[in-house]
Structure formats: C-alpha cells, structure tokens
C-alpha cells in the first residue's frame, strides 16, 4: 500500500519536472520553429508549428549572407590548435610543478595562480598594442597565440590530478634510463587521460564561444569566427528577424554536435572538477 502511494507521488514529481523542462526549453523551441516561417507569419503566431507557412528559403538566405565555411574553418583552426597548445604546455609545466618540488616550482605555481585573478579586460589595451607591434592583430594565428595564454587553468587542473597519480612507473622508467621527455609522454601523459578530456571540454567551450577576443582583435570578415557571424548578422537582418534566427541555428549546430557527443564526459568533468576544487 505504502509502496503504491510513493509510486504515485514520484510519478507526479516526474511529470512536474518534465513540465519545468518543457518551460526551460521554450526559448529553443521558439528559435527553431520560427526559422521555417516568413517574418510576418512568425510575428503573428510565434509559437505555432510551421505547417501553413512552411519555408526553407530563410535558411538559404541566412546561409548566403554568412561565410559559414570560412568562419567554421577559422573557429575550428583556432580552437583545435590553441587547445592542443594549452594541453601540451599545461601538462608539462604542471608535471614539473608537482613532481620536482623546490623553491622555484613553488613560486611558479603561485605565479600561475595569480592569472585567475587577472580578468582579460585589464590586460586588453597593452595586449592590443603588443599584437599590432607583432602584426598578429586581425589574424587567425594571433587568436591562437592569445588563447594559448589561458594555459593556467590546465596547469591548475593537471597539478591537482597529478597528486593522485602514483610515481612507481616513473621511477622504474628512470632506472631504465629514460629521459624526462620520453618518460613524460610515454608513461605519465597516458595516465592523465580523464583530466585531459575535462580540460579539453572546458577550453573548447570557452574558446569556441568566446566573443570578446574576436570582437576586439579581428576586423576583416574573412578572419571571422562563427560567433562573430551572429554579431555581424544582427545589423544586416534587423528587418527580417527570422533570417537572423536561422543564422543563430546554423551557428549553433557545431557546438551542439560537440555537446551531444561529449555529454557524458561534460557532466562527469564538471563533477570531478568540483570534488577536487
């Protein structure tokens, strides 16, 4: 009897939660549904399904006005290369800081920690000046260089994780006469796989979604990232808001695919970060 009553109670709870989920999802429903309607039809009934006035022309229009493939390539290049650099530089530095403790490495750890307190905005003006001196302004390479300096987050995460990795294997390799470089990449780095995935996920999401850096450092549209395409389109499609919504959907496709593939790791990653933090 009691079990049955509890069953009904949890059933109600589940329906309630699904209702809240539905409300939570409305903005995305609104976004998608209206991309298949002409602006006028969408304005009259923004919540209706696009049955009477179904059209795919808007996607065509949106696709024609943005430089999807060029911007996608830029976003991809910037994200993949800078995240790779962050992983390589960050893991190496963290390894030395964790395993080779002396006054210098202790100082370095604090030195890298200070970076968390430095908001990007405080360094922007001198950085802008520096980038133009080195002719790295308005270039994909420049963006990669800029994002690579975000390696302190990776150092922090790796440093924490390394504390729980046993040293036996490294010592065995040392005795066998392996150098630091070989030992690190062949023996230690493979053990860091789970934290590496977490760092990759966080950094991919930050860098791919970042707007401030390309907004300030990129001026020509051939160097735009995907997020910049949305910013540019706002002015162009001011009168035709459903085309603008199409642009948003198109731009969201790659990161959504990334999310769907990595979903399990993302939630697990946040979890592991929280427990260690």
């Amino acid at each position: 009897m009691q079990g049955k009553r509890r069953g009904i109670k949890s059933y109600i709870g589940e329906i309630l939660m699904l209702g809240i989920c539905a409300i939570f999802f409305i903005p995305f429903y609104y976004l998608i549904v209206n991309t298949f309607k002409e602006a006028r039809a969408a304005t009259i009934s923004p919540m209706s399904l696009p049955i009477k006035s179904f059209t795919l022309d808007l996607y065509k229009k949106a696709f024609d006005t943005i430089n999807f493939w060029s911007s996608f390539r830029n976003s991809l290049l910037i994200t993949v290369i800078s995240v790779t650099i962050i992983i390589v530089f960050g893991s190496m530095a963290a390894y030395v800081i964790n395993r080779h403790k002396n006054k210098l490495t202790k100082f370095l750890f604090i030195y890298f920690l200070i970076g968390f307190m430095v908001p990007a905005q405080t360094t922007l003006i001198p950085l802008f000046n520096m980038m133009s001196i080195f002719k790295l302004q308005n270039s994909v390479l420049g963006m990669i260089v800029l994002y690579s300096s975000w390696c302190n987050f990776a150092i922090f995460m790796y440093q924490g994780f390394l504390g729980g990795v046993p040293r036996d294997l490294e010592e065995a390799a040392r005795i066998d006469g392996a150098g630091l470089w070989k030992m690190f990449w062949h023996i230690v780095f493979p053990l860091l796989k789970s934290v590496t995935i977490t760092i990759i996920i966080f950094d991919v999401m930050w860098i791919w979604n970042d707007f401030m850096m390309p907004y300030l450092f990129i001026s020509s549209s051939s160097k735009f990232t995907l997020v910049m395409e949305v910013y540019k389109s706002v002015g162009e499609h001011a009168s035709n808001w459903t085309v603008m919504l199409c642009t948003i959907v198109i731009v969201l496709v790659p990161i959504t695919i990334f999310y769907l593939f990595m979903q399990k790791h993302i939630i697990a990653g946040i979890t592991s970060g929280a427990i260690k933090g």
Binding site: M92, M205, I255, T271
Partner: protein, 293 residues
Amino acid sequence: MKLKIKKELPYLLFVLPAFLVYTVLTMIPLLQTMGLAFTNWDGYSLRNLKFVGFDNFKNLFSDRSMKSSLINTCFYSLIFPVLATLFAIPLSLALNSKMKTRNLQRAVFFFPSVPSAMILGYLWAYILAPTSNGLLNKFLGIFGIDPVLWLAIPKWAMFSVMMVNLWSAVGWHACIYLAQLQSIPAEYYEAATVDGASSWQRFRYITFPMLSSAMTVSVMLLLLTSMKLFDLPFALTSGGPGTSTTMISHIIIKTGFVEKSYGKAMAMSVIFFIFIALVSILQLRLMKKREVE
C-alpha cells in the same frame, strides 16, 4: 654547480613554454596597465610619456557612467550568485532523484550553458521584445497583463539580464552540486530516518553541510563570472537603457577601444583588478578556514 644546472635544465625546459606565453600575454600586459594608468599614454608610442599621478583616477570618478558601471557590477555580483545558488541546489536535489527521465532532464537543464552567451542574448532580445513577436509579453497578455518594456526600463533591464543568465547557468551549477550529492553515503539518511528526522531536517543537517565544498566552487565561479560579465548584457541590452546594465568590463572596452580614452580605461582596469583580487583572496581565505574546520 655546472652539474646541478645540467640536472635541472630538462625540468626548466618543461616549464618554459607555459611560462613564456603566460608571462608575455598576461603578466606583462597587466604590469603595463598598472604602470600606464598613471601616465598620459596615447595608445601608440612610448615617446612623450608623462607621469600624471592620479589624474586618470580622478577623471574616472567624475564620470557618471563609470560610477554607475561600478555600482552595477557590485550589485550584480552580490545578487546573482545568491540567486543562482538558491535555484541550483533545489534543482540538483530534483535531478538526483531516481526518475526514469532523469538523464533527459539533466541534458535539458544543462543545454543552455552550451551556446555562447552572446548568441543567447540576441535570442532573448526577441523573446522579451515589446512587439508582437515578443513571446513573454504575449504570454502575459493572456492573463490581461499589459506588455512590459523588459529591456527599456532600467530596473526591468537589470532583471532581464539576471533572468537570462540564471536560465543559462543554473543547470551547470546544479551539476556541480549533483556530483557532491551522489557522494553522500546513503547510511546517513537511513540513520536519520530511523531517528525520526523530517525531510527538512535531513536536508538541513545532512545534505546542506555535505554540500559545502561544492558550494565553495560554485559560488567562486559565479562570483568571478558575474564580475567579468560582458557578452550577455552586450547582446541583450547593449548596456542600456542609459547605463543601467553597463558592467565594468563593458565600460573598459567602450572607453578603451571605442572612445580611445586609454588613460581612463586603464585606470578602470586597475580598479577592476584590485576588486577581483580582493574578492578572490577573501574567498580563498574562507575556503581555507572551512577546510581547517
């Protein structure tokens, strides 16, 4: 001596790349900002550089939009972390239940933190619009409520930024709590139930204290992101109406890159840095104290 250097060299080379990019692109610009904030730097050359003392800071405090952005950021970073925590903890409790659809629920609540905040800002600008495509006003209209100018009245504009930010961040922060919830041993609850504890008592004396380390992480993240908030108000309200949703990070970019008043922008940056550093140090202190206890 020579031998020692030879032994240390590989280790130094391992740290060197990270040290170089970080120093050149973060620490040197930071020091430059700190130094140049006290000069009349024109943004291009270091010739004709003159030390002007606290002039830039004085100009700053006589500028009304600067003052209001400082107040906005303080207000936002006081209110938003509390608000988000009040929603994230109950959400994590709900998501921790044994419902059949819980994975779907987690995915839905988490999804708004996937797209760039800038894009979400533009999307919500349509939803909050006073015109007939504005979904929220249309919905309120069903109940006979007159359209609210969500983005055109200062207090509602600030409310809207917070609401959209809450919608996009709450799932992420619920995940942080969720992890910790799953690590609480079930025996604690069993024992409490045997002792006749009510469900509120179980939350108050078991769940809540056990969530403390997740809370430190979550609140710290919320504080930092609130203080640095830029993309969302930029897209949603462009800082308006007037300066009612202009944040510090926005005003630094506006004065530095649009108006090209470098001195003022850098003076603001220095204040911003001190502000964030103080809050982080305070937070770290509290964290240490808690761990000791």
